[in-house]
């Protein structure tokens, strides 16, 4: 039962990653691409934290309190290393979003369209 639930959760998260990649590649509006990129980011972050989870009951967060003995804390707390990495990843994802929306707004102000299919002709490249 536990392994079945874990398999279902992992497969759904990987499906969300592929859904995000498909959305970025297929939809031609820039803002829709930004939304789908964020969906992919969220799924990967949750996958990281799922790797550090432990199947014990009751499970503790990695915060040491005085009324727990040390051996019990070591045997019940989850892994703290993926959480520190995901914290950095969330902030860097936000910095990336700030830059992307700024570029989308400035492109619309200068050229009047926010559609990726018209960008090749505007930029003067050789279309297919």
């Amino acid at each position: 039962m536990i392994s079945l639930l874990l398999a279902y959760i992992t497969i759904t998260l990987f499906a969300m990653v592929f859904l995000g990649i498909y959305g970025v590649a297929t939809r031609s509006n820039l803002i829709k691409k930004i939304i789908m990129l964020n969906v992919m980011n969220d799924a990967i972050n949750m996958l990281f934290i799922l790797i550090g989870y432990r199947i014990v009951f009751p499970v503790f967060p990695p915060i040491y309190e005085k009324h727990i003995t040390f051996e019990e804390f070591l045997s019940r707390a989850v892994d703290p290393v993926p959480q520190a990495l995901v914290l950095t990843a969330v902030v860097i994802g936000m910095a990336m979003n700030i830059l992307l929306t700024t570029y989308a707004i400035q492109f619309y102000r200068l050229h009047g369209t926010v559609d990726a299919r018209d960008m090749a002709e505007i930029m003067g490249g050789e279309g297919e």
């Binding site: 990987f14 790797i51 290393v81 700030i98 700024t102």
Partner: protein
């Protein structure tokens, strides 16, 4: 048409292969009941009495600022670069800024209802208090610089929605002030990082040499100021009305 079929089939094959490798062969090591050795090292040494300790019962903050402090330092700089990039793409010269202020003052202004204004004032003060509590207790309970800074950015967004950007700038909250406060937060972080070298004769970012819990506390306060005013700068720069910007840019294009 044929390319779409090839892409769909290859996606499906990749998805099936990854699903098989993760669930049947257990490549990622999910669903275990034991800690990995690195996690056990951090959990057992973070609040110990001697040795490689970090004097804080909150293990995630100890990892982020003490054991892997350089990662967080450079990530703060990446965030700074992103915000400066956004400000520099949307920059205006001095004359254009004067024109923007003139056009904004000529717009018809209308106040929101008195209920909205009164409740916003109350709620913003509560959010500022809660975010400061989250940020300053970062080395004892879940929290820290990033969490407190993001919560206070939400409070400044409420101010934007209830009172317009024009009112905020008339009361004295311009881009220059927020960038100065951002620089103050970064200077506090840099001072705490370099203090063990000049005052105690240790290495860079060896904050165990600072007395008591000053190291983690100062880093949390610096990060709190930096993240709050970073988000506020972005919203102040992006908040210019669209027709005003088009008028100003059209003047530049026609020159």
């Amino acid at each position: 048409m044929k390319r779409d079929v090839i892409v769909a089939v290859s996606f499906l094959l990749a998805f099936l292969f990854i699903a098989y490798a993760v669930t049947v062969k257990n490549v990622l090591g999910l669903g275990g009941a034991e800690l990995r050795p690195l996690g056990e090292f951090y959990l057992s040494h973070s609040f110990a009495h001697e040795g490689l300790t970090s004097h804080s019962p909150e293990v995630v903050t100890a990892i982020v600022w003490n054991y892997r402090g350089f990662d967080t330092l450079f990530e703060t700089f990446v965030f700074f670069l992103a915000i400066m990039g956004a400000v520099s793409v949307l920059r205006l010269t001095d004359e254009q800024e004067r024109l923007v202020k003139e056009l904004e003052a000529r717009e018809p202004h209308r106040r929101m209802d008195i209920i909205v204004r009164a409740i916003t004032k109350l709620v913003v003060i509560m959010i500022v208090a809660i975010s400061a509590s989250i940020a300053l207790h970062g080395h004892l309970t879940p929290g820290g610089g990033f969490q407190g800074g993001s919560a206070m950015a939400v409070a400044s967004l409420l101010l934007f929605a209830a009172f317009s950007k024009f009112t905020l700038e008339k009361k004295g909250l311009t881009v220059k002030h927020t960038v100065s406060a951002y620089a103050l937060g970064l200077a506090l972080i840099l001072a705490t990082v370099l203090a063990p070298v000049f005052l105690y004769g240790g290495k860079v970012l060896e904050i165990n040499l600072l007395p008591g819990e000053t190291g983690l506390f100062n880093l949390d306060v610096g990060e709190y100021l930096a993240v709050t005013f970073g988000f506020l700068t972005v919203f102040l720069v992006l908040g210019v009305s669209e027709w005003i910007f088009k008028t100003v840019l059209r003047g530049e294009v026609n020159d």
